[in-house]
Amino acid sequence: MDAVLQGLGMLFAPQNFLTIVVCSLYGLFVGSIPGLSATLAASLLVPFTFFMEPLAALCSIVSMSAMAIFAGDIPAALIRIPGTPSSAAYTQDSFALTKQGKAQMVLGTDIIFSAIGGLMGAIVLMTSAPLLAEVAMKFSTFEYFWLAALGLSATVMVSAGSQAKGAIAMCLGLFLSTIGVDITLGCPRFTFGNVDLLNGISFIPAMIGVFGISEVMRNVSDRQMDFAIAKVKTKGIFTGVGKLIKKYQWNMWRSGIIGTIIGVLPGAGADIAAWIAYAASKRASKEKELYGKGSIEAIVDSGTANNACLAGDWVPALVFGIPGDSITAVVIGVLFMKGLRPGPMIFEQQPEILYGVYFAFILANLLMVPFGWLAVKTSSQMLRVPKKILIPIIMMFAITGAFAINNDVFDIITLGVLGIIGYFMERNDYPVAPIVLGLVLGPILEQNFMMSMIKTDWNLTLFFVRPISAILGGATVLMWGFPFFMAFLENTKKKK
């Protein structure tokens, strides 16, 4: 109880509360501009978190991501372009309703159901994380190895497009994590005599490069887009939303659960949650014919799920140090930067910080209502910010932010190189999020594997002896075999 009250008190300290407000507005701005993602916003925020207290740093990312995921719904409804990938599932329906003159209803629904979804996710995070932390206390190197392997496998399975390309991206991230001094004998690997590489690839500049600079490179190669944006009146934006809550309450619960479960699964983020909730909604709906042509039910379901997913993503990140999505990969980097090691010990040693984070989720989702109203009111101005001015500014913030972490020019080189890698990977349809996840999980994977092997005298069978280890190992192996099984089924169906 002391930790709960302490966390609440810390949250409402002026600097933390102000951080939440400022970062909420930042998230709203970035989320509502097509072409800028919540992950880009998080990567640009990280250098600033370096100078914040731990709770303020974590709350900044919580509030920014909650607002950004919702704000992507605004351009989706107004110009049929999602602001973030998590709004893509229901862009068609949102815009169709806007063309029918129902833009206010769509945006009001987006605000309220996003807030409800976020609150549901926050409650699950508050209740499940401490329970899982108790289970995690029993984890040894075997369990951590399988958990990291499971997280990486899940990332590959849910990556858009070719899973083989997702696997290659993951391997690339893992390979980058091997650069530097190895953990067994302390000998340099792939440093080519360069002293800077002895410390390995710095995660924060690498992440800013992969998400930030590659995005900059992509945006500057596009010609300008001109928008003719309808001005939306905010009066009456919430009219009728109460009736929708009553009518679609089961949808709301279902999608909240779907979103949270997807979030807990390592590697799957808000965009996956939105698509799965959309598919489930269509399957269960009595008005299937409206989907894709203007279904408010689709918006209710997907909008709830993507925001519920955000808090769910923090469960594996806080309890096991395994990122739930690319934003929580950033969070893990921030935790390490602050000297906080994610895992069960943080629940014992600094629970007040965790309670502060839980309450930050609740506060951010409550603030979503007034801030969302403000964002809708100013949407036409925000969407007119010229990208040809915004993108160079983002590039300069990325360069300065990367330098600021270690005050080292080598980090700017890392930024540039990873930016090039990210750009070419995406141009050739390779997903980039697995690179970052591989970079974060690589040391955990290798370290726990080598320690397990050394202490068991290289007996591989012992990876399946402990019960939790056996379950996690079995799940991972099944996941590896799943694509081959599906290919076999498909071939069998074709033959029939």
Binding site: L185, D226, K388, M395, V409, D429
Partner: protein
């Protein structure tokens, strides 16, 4: 699209092979067990394995009829948006050139001059009017300098003018 798969696949196969070559000189653990080379070699093998799958996928796609091509400069009207699909790849290269120039020049010219120049050049290339680009670059670089150097006390490169 299909040739991209072949090129990408070959690239990562070569990377996998190079990893095996690069780890050949790494020491082993006592007892002859693999040490520092184990994890990279597993990754090298996975690179080769998955790259072969990517090449196979590319070969399969090449057997399918190609999609209807979109004209490179076609105007697509989607909702209320006019999108011109033409790409300017030189601008992407320019971003990297500017980052490299910043790395090389900042320690001599300082953060403000180098950063301001980088901002100005990119905005100008993106067809922002020169005077507007200059004013915005100056304001933004001063803002970034104030936040990072003065408030956060990051020792940004100062150069010969101590800026």
């Amino acid at each position: 699209m299909w040739s991209k798969d072949y090129i990408g696949g070959v690239f990562f196969i070569v990377l996998g092979v190079l990893i095996w070559v690069g780890t050949s000189q790494l020491p082993v653990l006592p007892g002859g067990h693999p040490g520092p080379s184990l994890f990279p070699r597993v990754l090298g093998t996975l690179f080769i394995f998955f790259s072969l799958i990517v090449i196979l996928e590319g070969w399969r796609k090449s057997k399918m009829p190609p999609p209807t091509p979109i004209e490179t400069a076609e105007e697509l009207r989607e909702g209320n948006v006019i999108i011109i699909a033409e790409k300017n790849h030189f601008n992407s290269v320019l971003v990297i050139i500017l980052i490299a120039a910043f790395i090389a020049a900042a320690k001599y010219l300082g953060f403000i001059i180098t950063g301001g120049a980088v901002l100005f050049i990119l905005m100008w290339k993106l067809q922002v009017k020169p005077i507007k680009a200059f004013i915005i670059s100056a304001l933004v670089i001063c803002f970034i300098y104030s936040v990072f150097a003065k408030i956060l006390r990051v020792p940004l490169p100062q150069g010969f003018l101590w800026w």
